[in-house]
């Protein structure tokens, strides 16, 4: 018997056939190309058309960018160096680099101050943006506005200290009385802060040193992309709390509060931002006497903050309206009072819904800060349109300068947008 199958046994494999490589069409980049770019005839055609368009764009721009000149001192020198070849005149960026970033009047030996303030901004913003970080870092965040003010404007250190004391005093009064009634705490806190600031105003004037540790820089000297960033950061961070207050006020059952909020929001939304800026720069000067020169930067911050807070209020109202009525009733049934219900149940959900809208407004606001160039503040666009294009050396350079401005804004806005997408994923509690 054993011989019967002797021949056939030889054909029984006792090892597995080694896996053959997948057909060339079904693996690696070829597969990816087939599935994603050339799945059907129509897709293939579109792919080829798109490649052709990309080729056209790159063949037009790449020689221009790569052939760019970086070291000349005027446009006509650029043209001499290029001698008819295609190439950009990036020399304007290297020569006016500091002016584009800091404006033309900020003292050049003090550039480290706004730069340091920017670096500290990232540290201060981190615990707010990424809430997994230790909560102790928030102390630095709270101190940051005062540090940044002192770094950028310089002058007597007493000014930011008094401002800080006012906030601390207001908070102490608030936390003392808020247990009795929210309104008492809130308005008591504001009054306390005002008193501290008022008294502090006299003290700082009396004690202001003739030569402060950091030389004072007036607001008029701020400029460049620094001004855009400062306006953007200040106005966004001020307008979010203000917007929340307005949204809640609009839903209030007290007719007076509701009326004020509705009128404010509808009025601001009905007026173009540029009009508000003109009011800030031009009209207010008529109301104040020539001596009481309220800082132009402050006036602009107030106007932009009002503008964006009205929009943010409407976005948050959308979030509040999207919550089912059951959430409000659940809060009531737990015996929570208004402030607690809002803080613990309603707002966390409403704000989460509102994130895309708020980010939308923040990005739009940041780009709108370039509008200050029409009221003769030299932000990035103002610097380009005014001093740089009006200099005899650089009149006629458009693509390089405006392309650079677009690049700076793109980097910041894309960053904001990526953060908000991360935030939405992180906060997603529904089971999709």
């Amino acid at each position: 018997m054993s011989d019967t199958h002797a021949q056939s046994v030889a054909f029984v494999r006792d090892t597995a056939i080694p896996a053959a490589p997948a057909p060339a069409n079904e693996t690696g980049p070829v597969k990816w190309l087939r599935e994603n770019l050339f799945a059907t005839w129509a897709n293939a055609l579109l792919t080829i058309a798109a490649l052709f368009v990309i080729y056209l764009i790159l063949s037009a721009t790449l020689p221009w960018i790569l052939g760019g000149v970086w070291t000349t001192s005027s446009l006509s020198e650029c043209r001499e160096v290029l001698a008819g070849e295609t190439g950009a005149c990036f020399s304007v960026l290297s020569e006016r680099w500091n002016q584009l970033l800091f404006g033309f009047k900020y003292p050049s030996e003090l550039y480290w101050r706004p730069t340091l303030a920017l670096v500290m901004l990232f540290v201060a913003a981190a615990p707010v943006l990424f809430f997994d970080l230790p909560r102790k870092l928030l102390i630095f965040t709270a101190l940051y506005p005062f540090i940044a003010f002192w770094l950028i404007w310089g002058g007597s250190i007493l000014v930011p200290i008094v401002a800080l004391l006012g906030v601390v005093g207001g908070y102490l009064v608030y936390s003392r009385f808020v247990t009795q009634s929210f309104a008492t705490g809130f308005f008591g806190g504001i009054v306390a802060a005002l008193i501290v600031w008022y008294i502090g105003g006299f003290i700082t004037e009396a004690l202001a040193p003739a030569n402060p540790m950091l030389a004072a820089v007036p607001s008029r000297d701020l400029g460049g992309f620094m001004l855009n960033l400062m306006l953007g950061v200040t106005c966004v961070s001020l307008s979010i709390p203000l917007g929340i207050a307005l949204a809640l006020g609009r839903q209030s059952s007290m007719p007076l509060i509701k009326g004020i909020c509705v009128i404010f929001i509808e009025f601001i939304r009905g007026v173009p931002l540029i009009t508000l800026l003109f009011v800030a720069s031009v009209m207010l000067a008529y109301f104040f006497p020539p001596e009481a020169n309220v800082d132009l930067f402050l006036r602009v911050v107030i106007m932009i903050t009002m503008f964006s807070s009205a929009y943010i209020a409407e976005v948050i109202r959308g979030g509040l309206a999207a919550l089912p009525k059951g959430q409000y009733e659940a809060a009531d049934s737990l015996g929570l009072e208004y402030a607690q219900a809002m803080r613990l149940i309603i707002l966390p959900q409403a704000l989460k819904i509102s994130i895309p809208g708020i980010v939308n407004i923040a990005v739009g606001l940041f780009k709108d800060t370039t509008l200050v160039s029409v009221i003769s503040m030299f932000d990035l666009v103002g610097m380009i349109r005014g001093p740089i294009l009006a200099s005899t050396e650089w009149n006629g350079v458009y693509w390089e300068l405006l392309g650079f401005a677009a690049l700076l804004f793109f980097v910041v806005c894309y960053g904001i947008s990526q953060y908000s997408q991360w935030l939405e994923r992180r906060l997603a509690t529904d089971h999709r």
């Binding site: 002016q99 000014v159 031009v282 008529y286 009481a292 103002g382 001093p387 009006a390 005899t392 458009y398």
Partner: protein, 338 residues
């Protein structure tokens, strides 16, 4: 940002409204700085350089006034203004004078309540055209396409000119000078029209300026000059005669090079009165005797300022034309210093 200012603004507003305002001269002296309104940037007329120093034809007027009043040509706070904010800045007292290529017109002088103290540049609307078209006069422009900035007086002047000469044109409306530059170079229009100084400055930035010509016709009057507020005639006099001093200095041959020598006394009584070695002209203005000497030393006389900023040796390359002295066939004519 000072909290005290922030809080006290309203109170101060009420108090100060009643207080009698000091004269502009006293304000400027107390401040130690002249607040001078300039443009946010116009090639040759006013622009900060890479170091942030303001330079230009209009800027020189500010510096001369500062030198005359305060004795320091750098004691100027330049307040950049746009076409929209310039008049309110002056009317509200934010600036002491405006030197920003502003056309002297009836309504600005009378209705807006300003005082034009003189003319530092006689401009007018002109035409620029590629040389290859072979046009030598604006009257040959029948049927041409014309790039024109909308909403300006140049638009109206253009229509008037073509109607008066009974020829037709096709307007290409554009918004800004930068846009006009691109459109014209791209061939969207045959002719570009705006102020002649602007045309020259624009042409100077072209890759090949010699391929474009400015036609000889000037079809409008645009007298540009510094202005002050109504109501303080003493201050207006100071700015007016500082400008006149610059113009007269050129006429009498007083330049920054020889002023030191001439200031020690000359045979020409007019020069002596101008430079303060004779008479008491400075005291009449409320200044000292050497005010005009300092104003001239700040940037040189009118001719030197013109040559340095916008003259034929600069990239802008403007000829003196109407802005020559009256003795050379121009319009510059300073009243006598007597």
């Amino acid at each position: 940002m000072k909290k005290s200012v922030f809080l006290g603004a309203l109170t101060v507003a009420g108090l100060a409204a009643g207080a009698a305002a000091a004269t502009t001269l006293e304000d400027v002296k107390a401040r130690g700085k002249l607040n001078c309104g300039v443009t946010t940037g116009l090639v040759g007329f006013a622009a900060p350089d890479a170091n942030g120093e303001w330079n230009g034809f209009d800027v020189a007027v500010c510096r001369a006034v500062a030198a005359a009043v305060l004795g320091d040509a750098s004691a100027v706070e330049f307040v950049p203004t746009t076409g929209k904010t310039r008049f309110t800045a002056l009317a509200s007292g934010e600036i002491d004078m405006l030197a920003r290529n502003t056309t002297w017109t009836f309504s600005r002088d009378v209705d807006l309540k300003f005082e034009f103290v003189g003319v530092n540049y006689y401009d007018g609307q002109g035409f620029m055209i590629p040389k290859e078209l072979g046009v030598s006069s604006a009257k040959d422009l029948d049927g041409a396409t014309v790039c024109i900035q909308t909403g300006t007086t140049t638009e109206l002047n253009l229509a008037d000119f073509f109607r008066a000469n009974n020829i037709s044109y096709e307007p290409v409306p554009i918004e800004t000078n930068a846009e006009a530059q691109q459109q014209y170079l791209a061939g969207a229009c045959d002719v570009y029209t705006t102020d002649a100084s602007g045309l020259a400055a624009t042409r100077a930035t072209f890759e090949d300026p010699t391929a474009h010509v400015l036609l000889p016709e000037i079809i409008s009057k645009e007298p540009l000059g510094p202005l002050v507020r109504h109501g303080d005639n003493e201050w207006g006099d100071i700015v007016r005669w500082t400008l006149n001093a610059l113009i007269a200095a050129e006429e009498y041959g007083v330049s920054s090079a020889n002023i030191g020598e001439l200031a020690s006394g000359t045979d020409n009584p007019e020069i002596n009165r101008l430079l303060g070695t004779e008479g008491t002209l400075g005291e009449m203005l409320g200044l000292d005797l050497e005010w005009a000497k300092r104003a001239i030393m700040a940037n040189g006389n009118y001719g030197e300022i013109f040559a340095k900023n916008i003259g034929e040796t600069t990239p802008i390359g403007l000829a003196r034309g109407l802005n020559a002295q009256w003795t050379d066939g121009g319009l510059l004519y300073s009243p006598p210093f007597r």
